[in-house]
Amino acid sequence: MANLNIVDAINLGLKQEMQKDKRVVIFGEDVGKDGGVFRVTDGLQKLYGIKRVFDTPLCESGIVGMAIGMSAFGLRPVAEIQFEGFSYPALDQLITHASRIRNRSRGRFSCPLVIRCPWGGGVKALEHHSEAPETYYIHTPGLKVVIPSTPYDAKGLIVSAIRDENPVIFFEPKKVYRAIKEEVPEKEYTIPIGKAKIAKEGSDVSVITYGSSVRDCLKVAETLQDKYNLEVIDLRTLSPLDTDSIINSVKKTGRAVIVHEAQKTLGLGAEIIARINEKALLSLEAPVERVTGYDIIVPLPKREDLNRPTEKRIIKAIEKVMNF
């Protein structure tokens, strides 16, 4: 076992799947020689050659469209979109085709592809490099959306994503790319797609979150530990959503706070509240609170924090549901 961060853990998962399955190919902007701008694919071209790990011209729609054809014809493409804010040129290929080929062909063709994409803010970057666009993808029937928040889960989930028979959008929270290190087994294992994880067990309030906010929520749980016993749920998969884990937790605690950096309107929080209303309304001791990005364009770094679900804002929401 090695002590790895998220970057290294994904790299290891990719490496092992490539070793095991000759159908796996990796491509995208700067993923080959450069090893990716975040070095997630570092060293893979050296190991597996340029036929299996290659740099593409600068064309997101081309990358994803090509992945569709490759996956339908027997390969297991793992394509990288360099930043979440540059995934939009590829939206057409994802929404119009990747998500629909199975349905359109009544099951004759499918798109077992993975789109890896550094995700989220808090990294003091230029415009388009700090966004949380998951709703567009969650809202698209036929796509799965995964977002690990720890190295262990990252490795297990990337392997599952590659093996999945459906198109998977694999978001990687770049704020914690290197911030968290933990023991990651060398040996093969998978984390199931569609299963949330209780990151910390508790009894007073369910804090439901994903991505880099998981770490912030765990810190809040620590800060407040003498006062409240928080349960922190790391969704890990955003689509399909693990409704059972959410409902079971809320039934236990009777209170919920949802935390995400994506915009508030039609952010995943809205859907989670709806499901709680449908399945656990009578267990609630207080209205569910949301801590989210506002309905604005992510501000440039000097003022980005105003828009982020900071620990202060999370604590405030927890106080509100606890003191209802």
Partner: protein
Amino acid sequence: MRNAYLRTIKRMGSRKINIIDLFTGMLGESKNISIKKKSKTVKSNGLKTIKKFEVKKLEILDINGNCNKKLMPKLSKEEIKKLYEFMILSRVFDEKALNLQRQGRLGVYASMRGQEASIIGSAYALKKDDWIFPCFRENGALILRGYPMHQLFMYWGGDERGMQVPNNVNSFPISIAVGTQTLHAVGAAYANQYMNKKVANIVYFGDGGTSEGDFHEAMNLAGTFKLPVVFFCQNNQYAISVPRSMQTASETIAQKAIAYGFNGIQVDGNDVFAVYKAAKEALDNARNGKGPTLIESYTYRLGDHTTSDDAKKYRNEKELNEWLKKDPIARLEKYMRKNKISNAVYEKKVLENSSRQVDLAVKEYESTPLQNPEEIFNYMYSELTPELKEQQEEMLKNLKEENES
């Protein structure tokens, strides 16, 4: 031929274009779709050559500061000095930005080192009423057009007020999303033409940008509607780590114009006279209703892609050293000295003056207080929506409480 003075760098005449009858799907020779009536159709292998193309390159100033007098554009000594001064100012701005970034006083920055002739030569050819559509590597062009340097520092420092192009500067905002701005320039060109404004529109993008679908759609639209746009490609040989040769199988970027029905030309992008001349001619053509042009400015990014990048990982020192010899500023300096336009005293003065201006801009940037929090909401719509107003108030209330506690 109008461009007879240019060196032909690529002939495509040997390639045949077969005419396929769309209805029968048969290879036929029934239609003569030759565009130039004069061009001869030559038979070979039973096929007619129906179109030949050439790609030209414009070079005027060599690395020793000698210029081809026949090709030299009309520029007064004062104008040449202006070009030089803006190139120096660009380099000083650039160096300062890199320094500030290293010290944590600026955010991620994209250096233009090595591309000053390309940037300044093209921007200097613009008239005041013309418009530019920049990507992120044209700070020098923006400075030349009057964008205050402290605002550029604000932009790269992560202050949104830096993005607000002053009203007297005809520039669209910096476009980070590669290639997208080409279409905006096409639309602006349509609007300007529609309103009978005799202005040209120049759009900047990199060699990598030519791979995006948007670029091709923009080229096609501009050609189809014969719009007053100049597509200015700064081919600096890399898109982050991906070399030009892996970006496209086209031997030149200039030749891409041919497919869209207008002129493309390659210029030595480290030769400010060549860049200026090509840009001026293209802009004049645009203003005079002669439609779009693609200029491939053949240059080199001497620095890293941005401050987040390490170019050593993907390119070798030998290549870098070769390009260092072609430095656009050194070349112009030699020319100016040889022609008694400048001397050491003048050069020193220009450098000092540039440093002073840049230092002042840094001072202004760093003494500007943070943007008011509520401002992050204010430009989403023409007016705040009720929901946004509520969110804005909630944020301000939270901040106030945080400050009090």
